[in-house]
């Protein structure tokens, strides 16, 4: 069994139909025009960036990339957060980074691990970190961020702040011990934490049906004493609505919420993946009809807030900014060699100082992975 199309699930929270029109009787969240406009803008940037970076990877100019096409609406569960709230991302929420103010140049500098990379070339592409945005460093082993988010939420609570933590992970990650442990601690502590399970149907080659025998991923919340909400993760308005409710609940001291955002990984897990080996090539077609960007576009049209000229302007603007950022990145060097030894500890001890001196005294080798 593969992911079930959203419309077949009656417990699914939806606001928009697949065409982007409000469903009959749906409670439409009150989102300011400027906010909706900004969300569409950032969603466009996310889609354009993904497309450009994957092409760059295919040209052999970028080592690795992970696209989020088709899942972008789920990134905007962060939109109702305050700037002081914390986000513990997984690796497929590009929109959340841009929403918070991470720049195109920072994003690209990280992908190339150059001298201006915010993480100083320490991690492979898409492992961002931006403390100034309260966005926590991404880790590859899945689920580790879940108990960490709960710890941050607990800390806010005992320090008398009303900050909320939001943590992202995929449905595959719900199989890890870290998911169980994090959810359990959060329930016991009534931690102000919002869990976003991005159920995109596939964990690399393994379908969601292999991850659980439960009725849904949201159903797992019962075991941890918190509400579990299923939402159409391709419906921006519904995502905003359930996230707002969960954030308000957390901030009021009423504890955590698990949100399962039902969406679909339209393309491969990463640039290293080939979905044609393990899934029916017709399956993504079902989901392309539920494309979150298209639904938001149609909704904005319906509200009289979209014009073709605006979208064209965004398209051209972001393509140009990406081109400029790539050109700037091309002129940047790798981080200085001695920086390899920085930040292991606050101060390097004798062993690191000795190893640094040794490396600096060696003849320079040519980097076999240099792109550019």
């Amino acid at each position: 069994m593969v992911a079930v199309p959203a419309s077949e699930k009656d417990d699914l929270r939806r606001v928009l139909d697949d065409e982007g029109k409000p469903l009959p009787g749906a409670r439409v969240p009150n989102i300011a025009d400027a906010t909706l406009t900004k969300i569409f803008d950032v969603m466009m940037l996310t889609r354009i960036m993904d497309d450009r970076m994957m092409r760059l990877q295919r040209q052999g100019r970028l080592g690795f990339y992970m696209k989020s096409i088709g899942e972008e609406a789920s990134h905007f569960a962060v939109a109702p957060l305050r700037d002081a709230d914390w986000i513990f991302p997984s690796y497929r929420e590009q929109g959340a980074w841009f929403w918070r103010g991470y720049t195109i140049q920072q994003f690209i500098d990280q992908l190339f691990g150059n001298q201006d990379d915010p993480v100083k070339g320490r991690q492979m592409p898409v492992h961002h970190s931006a403390k100034w945005l309260h966005m926590v460093s991404i880790s590859s082993p899945v689920g580790t961020q879940i108990p960490q988010a709960v710890g941050a939420a607990y800390a806010a609570k005992v320090m008398g702040k009303d900050d909320v933590s939001m943590v992202y992970f995929g449905e595959g990650t719900s199989s890890t011990g870290e998911f169980h442990v994090g959810m359990n601690f959060a329930g016991v502590w009534k931690a102000p934490c919002v869990f976003i399970c991005r159920n995109n149907g596939w964990a690399i080659s393994v379908p969601s049906s292999t991850q659980t025998a439960a009725k849904s991923f949201a159903a797992k919340a019962v075991g941890y004493g918190m509400p579990g909400i299923r939402v159409d993760g391709n419906d921006l308005l519904a995502v905003w609505q359930v996230a707002s409710e969960a954030i308000a609940r957390a901030r009021a001291g009423d504890g955590p919420t698990l949100i399962e955002a039902l969406t679909y990984r339209v393309q491969g897990h990463s640039s290293s993946d080939d979905p044609s080996v393990y899934r029916d090539p017709k399956e993504p077609e079902i989901w392309e009809k539920k494309d979150p960007l298209n639904r938001l576009r149609n909704y904005l049209k319906h509200r009289g807030m979209w014009t073709e000229a605006w979208e064209t302007e965004l398209w051209e603007k972001y393509n140009q900014e990406i081109t400029d950022a790539l050109a700037a990145s091309d002129k940047k060097h790798a981080p200085a060699i001695e920086t390899m030894f920085d930040d292991v500890y606050e101060e390097p001890a004798w062993n690191l100082r000795e190893q640094r001196a040794y490396l600096l005294a060696q003849n320079r080798s040519k980097n076999p992975h240099h792109h550019g």
Partner: protein, 324 residues
């Protein structure tokens, strides 16, 4: 000056720092109302309350994972892992997360968490209450590893650990938690991380030990003295970063080194010390550096007395290195 055992010294350090810094919180299994299975946090729940002395659900990866999040947000957590044998469910959180946060975030996210955990055998606890896993964590870039052997050092080092900004694994020698007693100042003092202590001066052989093995090394040195052999005993106190200067200076003086540790022999920390010493002081060495260690077996229950290094074996190694 009051006399304290190691448990009391640890508790005193925690209390001192919690009074000085409201960001310090303790979390773990049974650390709250009960005060810990070894009583190290006894009384702290009453003084500081359940927000700062937290009885967690029973899951080590959750204890460390949430401690990391607390530290990222701005607290200074001091989690307790009840026995170091139970630390492995948290291994990923310690090795891939805690130890790497500062580095992988380009210095954005320091992660000042001090993990306290009892180590070592000799309490009839079998495999799951006796291990000495220091080598696994010394081999983890980003982590500091501290292993005191007496009450004075335990308090001074624990205070230092809680006042710096790197993650630390703080290993406490459980067999001598109560047996080791000494004068410990009530007030504040710190011992520098990364500095060994020469607990006994000597001229012919250098004995290197840490944690529960320091008292064994001292016993062996006393017996050696009666046989007319002058032994210098060094307590490493910090295992990462270890005090290379003190080790080399002593090696240069004695020319003979014996290392004592409880952990299994192969790839134990002794192997690294041998490598580091011979790289820097080969010309001073009069004999191969010897090791007296636990065996490459799981920690046994009925035969733990046979497993653990003792003064006789250490004395044997001392003689061997002199006769080589």
């Amino acid at each position: 000056m009051p006399t304290m055992n190691i448990i009391e010294a640890v508790r005193n350090a925690l209390q001192t720092q919690m009074r000085a810094d409201a960001r310090v919180v303790i979390l773990g299994e049974d650390v709250g109302k009960f005060g810990g299975v070894f009583r190290a946090t006894s009384g702290l729940y009453d003084e500081f309350g359940s927000d700062r002395v937290i009885d967690t659900p029973l899951a080590e990866s959750g204890i460390i994972g949430t401690a990391i999040g607390m530290a990222l947000y701005g607290l200074r957590p001091v989690p307790e892992i009840q026995f170091s044998d139970f630390i492995y469910p948290a291994f990923d959180q310690i090795v891939n997360e805690l130890a790497k946060f500062r580095y992988r975030s380009g210095g954005q996210y320091p992660c000042p968490v001090v993990i306290r955990t009892p180590v070592g055998g000799g309490i009839r606890g079998g495999h799951y209450h006796s291990q000495s896993p220091e080598a696994l964590f010394i081999h983890t870039p980003g982590l500091k590893v501290v292993a005191p052997s007496n009450p004075y050092d335990a308090k001074g080092l624990l205070l230092s650990c809680m006042r710096q900004n790197d993650p630390v694994l703080f290993m406490e020698p459980k067999r001598i938690y109560r047996a080791s007693k000494g004068d410990v100042p009530e007030g504040e003092y710190t011992i520098e991380i990364g500095k060994a202590s020469i607990v006994r001066e000597g001229t012919q052989v250098t004995l290197l030990a840490w944690s529960g093995m320091v008292s064994i090394a001292e016993d062996a040195a006393k017996q050696a003295e009666q046989a007319g052999i002058s032994v210098e005993v060094i307590d490493l106190r910090t295992l990462m970063p270890f005090d290379i200067d003190t080790l080399i200076a002593s090696t240069q003086k004695t020319g003979r080194v014996v290392i004592v540790h409880e952990a299994p022999r192969t790839c134990g920390f002794g192997a690294e010390l041998i490598a580091a010493i011979q790289e820097r002081a080969m010309e001073y060495l009069e004999a191969p550096i010897m090791r007296v260690t636990g065996f490459d077996t799981p920690f046994p229950y009925s035969l733990e007395h046979e497993y653990l290094p003792n003064a006789d074996r250490v004395l044997g190694a001392i003689r061997q290195t002199l006769e080589w």
